[in-house]
């Protein structure tokens, strides 16, 4: 067994920077330093990078440049969408129980400011209940927001159906697609939503940059006030290099989508087949027929996930318990709770998320380590 292998299987948390992207950053960051708002040559150069990136991002997503708003993160994109509700008449939001905290926690914080919300449940596979969404719609519902695919269990949500529902009630529809770009085809989905959030570091781009797709004529209020950047919707001098890198990363991710997903589907198959030969009591969460490729959430009964994570960390295998917070402590996952998974299974659940750089050798090593841990 080769311990020197470094097995990073936590791509749903974040991805390493693609080599081409890091080269582009290295090349560009010394050269492009202007403020895109400056009218001189140095500023114009920066503005050019910014607008090229916007064009590139729009092409990747299949929309117009002016429908792209660059943000500091996917979380910020979600925040800006919800924050907008405060400035419109209809202040009620319908969402699901398995949204990222960037939605659920934001709603909680905006509630005292006048926003209200209702949360639809999910089935045991983590798929949102459409009829419940419909029932939760009120006369003052101003937004429906349902994530494209869940970050902990990988279940892909019925975006078309949600979108139809929203259209039928004339309600804007937002989807947090942070986990989806580069893993499932976005262009078709984008046509059906009014707003969609993305984050660069989930598709081999840099951290600290995201974007919001806003269909033309969709209402959105300025979120960060300042110098009028991003069509007055997000003040602050633009993170030119980050934005350029994100656009490039998005393009690569979409160009390589088939190659990447084919590769990680093979790894996923090897892993699932392998783990089933080690133990027959593994409980897989989510929907095996409709989930993000390469994301496997499973409970291995009998050992709490914190201990398993520690033992794997020692062997240079890096996975996560879906719910780890900033102090590395594991608490029962709210998403698994929403799926009605028992607490004991919840606390023995780990999430493995493969990426394009992983190899079958790494998967075999992972399996051998799991076997050693479980079988001694």
């Amino acid at each position: 067994m080769e311990k020197q292998l470094n097995c990073y299987f936590d791509h749903s948390a974040t991805t390493p920077l693609d080599l081409a992207i890091s080269e582009w950053i290295k090349r560009t960051q010394g050269e492009i330093y202007g403020n895109p708002s400056s009218s001189h040559a140095v500023g114009r150069k920066a503005k050019n990078i910014l607008e090229l990136a916007r064009k590139q991002m729009a092409e990747v997503l299949g929309c117009h440049s002016k429908e792209i708003i660059f943000t500091g993160s996917g979380t910020e994109a979600n925040n800006s969408v919800l924050h907008s509700l405060l400035f419109q008449e209809k202040k009620h939001v319908v969402t699901s129980a398995i949204e990222h905290p960037a939605i659920l926690s934001t709603l909680q914080h905006l509630e005292p400011l006048g926003l209200s919300y209702s949360i639809a449940g999910v089935d045991s596979r983590g798929k949102v209940n459409l009829s419940e969404i419909e029932k939760l719609i009120q006369t003052d519902t101003g937004l429906i927001t349902i994530m494209t695919a869940n970050n902990e269990v990988g279940t892909i949500q019925p975006i078309s159906e949600c979108s139809d529902l929203a259209k039928a009630h004339n309600i804007p529809f937002h989807s947090d697609a942070v986990q989806a770009l580069g893993k499932i085809s976005i262009q078709i989905l984008l046509e059906q939503v009014d707003l969609m959030s993305f984050s660069a570091h989930k598709f081999y781009g840099p951290k600290g940059v995201g974007c919001l797709y806003k269909k033309e004529n969709t209402n959105l209020h300025s979120f960060v006030y300042g110098g009028g950047q991003e069509s007055n919707l997000r003040g602050g001098t633009e993170n030119i290099i980050g934005i350029g890198a994100m656009a490039l990363a998005a393009q690569l991710a979409v160009e390589q989508i088939k190659e990447t997903t084919d590769h990680i589907k093979v790894l996923e198959y090897q892993f699932i087949t392998g783990i089933k030969t080690i133990r027959d009591d593994i409980v897989f969460h989510g929907n095996s027929k409709s989930h993000i490729p390469g994301l496997i959430s499973f409970a291995a009964p009998g050992m709490d996930n914190q201990k398993l994570l520690t033992l794997l960390d020692r062997e240079n295998i890096f996975v996560s318990s879906g719910s780890a917070c900033h102090s590395g402590l594991s608490t029962p996952s709210k998403i698994l709770e929403a799926m009605d998974i028992s607490e004991s299974l919840n606390l023995s659940t780990i999430r493995v998320s493969f990426g394009k750089h992983n190899t079958d050798k790494e998967v075999q090593y992972f399996l051998s380590v799991l076997k050693k841990i479980w079988m001694g």
Binding site: K307, H326, L329
Partner: protein, 357 residues
Amino acid sequence: MEKVIVGMSGGVDSAVAAFLLKESGYDVEGVFMKNWNEDDDCPAEEDYKDALMVSEVLGIPLHSVNFSKEYWDNVFSTFLDEYKKGRTPNPDILCNKEIKFKAFLQYCIDLGADKIATGHYAKIVQSKNNYELHKGEDANKDQSYFLYTLGQEALSKSLFPLAALKKEEIREIAKSENLSVYNKKDSTGICFIGERDFKTFLKTYLFESPGDIVNSEGQVLGTHDGLMYYTLGQRQGLGIGGGHGEKNAPWYVSDKSIEKNELIAVQGKTHPNLYHKKLEASQLHWVSGGMPDLSQSYGAKIRYRSQDAKCTMEQISKDKVELTFQEAQFAIAPGQSVVFYDGDICLGGGIIDSRSN
């Protein structure tokens, strides 16, 4: 190489403990332990950050473990029960017993550790077939009082790398090793309450039941907010001032009557009702596993900060001893632990049930 897992709290003591072990050639790992879930459901981020920065400097892995459930069930619920009974519990002692040297120890053993280590100021001395618990070198910081519930099994699997050091030396080591926590403030008070107001904290868990403050003759002096807020020997915060009596001296809590919900106060710190020569203690624990020779006299601490007071011990039932002090002791508080010493050796202790003269 022996594998040692250090309980890393994010403070300077455990940081230096980890450093010293690494220096002595152990295979060191850190585990950040959190026992209390704050309202924001992601507790202890600041402490975790500190622990993480230290572990990166030392080049050791840092894992996390959450014992909130065990802490709630085995420490905090007892803490509340004791308060309900008008007693003054010591949750830190219970935490060492139930969490650090039980749940955490077992967790680390399961992770393949040969031993665990903590940043306690105390010493483990191996003599023949026995492990002894001694006071730490820094008399001012000695924490053996909190560790008297440790038994042979726990001691045989624990290391206290700070045993021979003084606090200033620990901070110096931390500074010279570039450990960012070198000047971090020592934590004070009960861990889960932190810097919060004790009264406000307790109020969220226990029903507040105000009543009378009376003197030893039963005359009403004023009102109290709830017996749980007062400790025997307490002077401040009675709200009845001095000046009521002939001597114009301040009032002290000398007793509590749970039945009548009365707080009994006496005037002047030298009032005889504040002093007792005897106490009874149960829930006894002996570090060596057996009761010491009761024909000898020993030192006893009735609270963490008290000096060792000379006493003799008599066994009155299987799990109960009566102590007789050479000199009457101020404010012996039921619920607190009494810990016995033979010189620097911590022999064990028990929980104070009652006191008398």
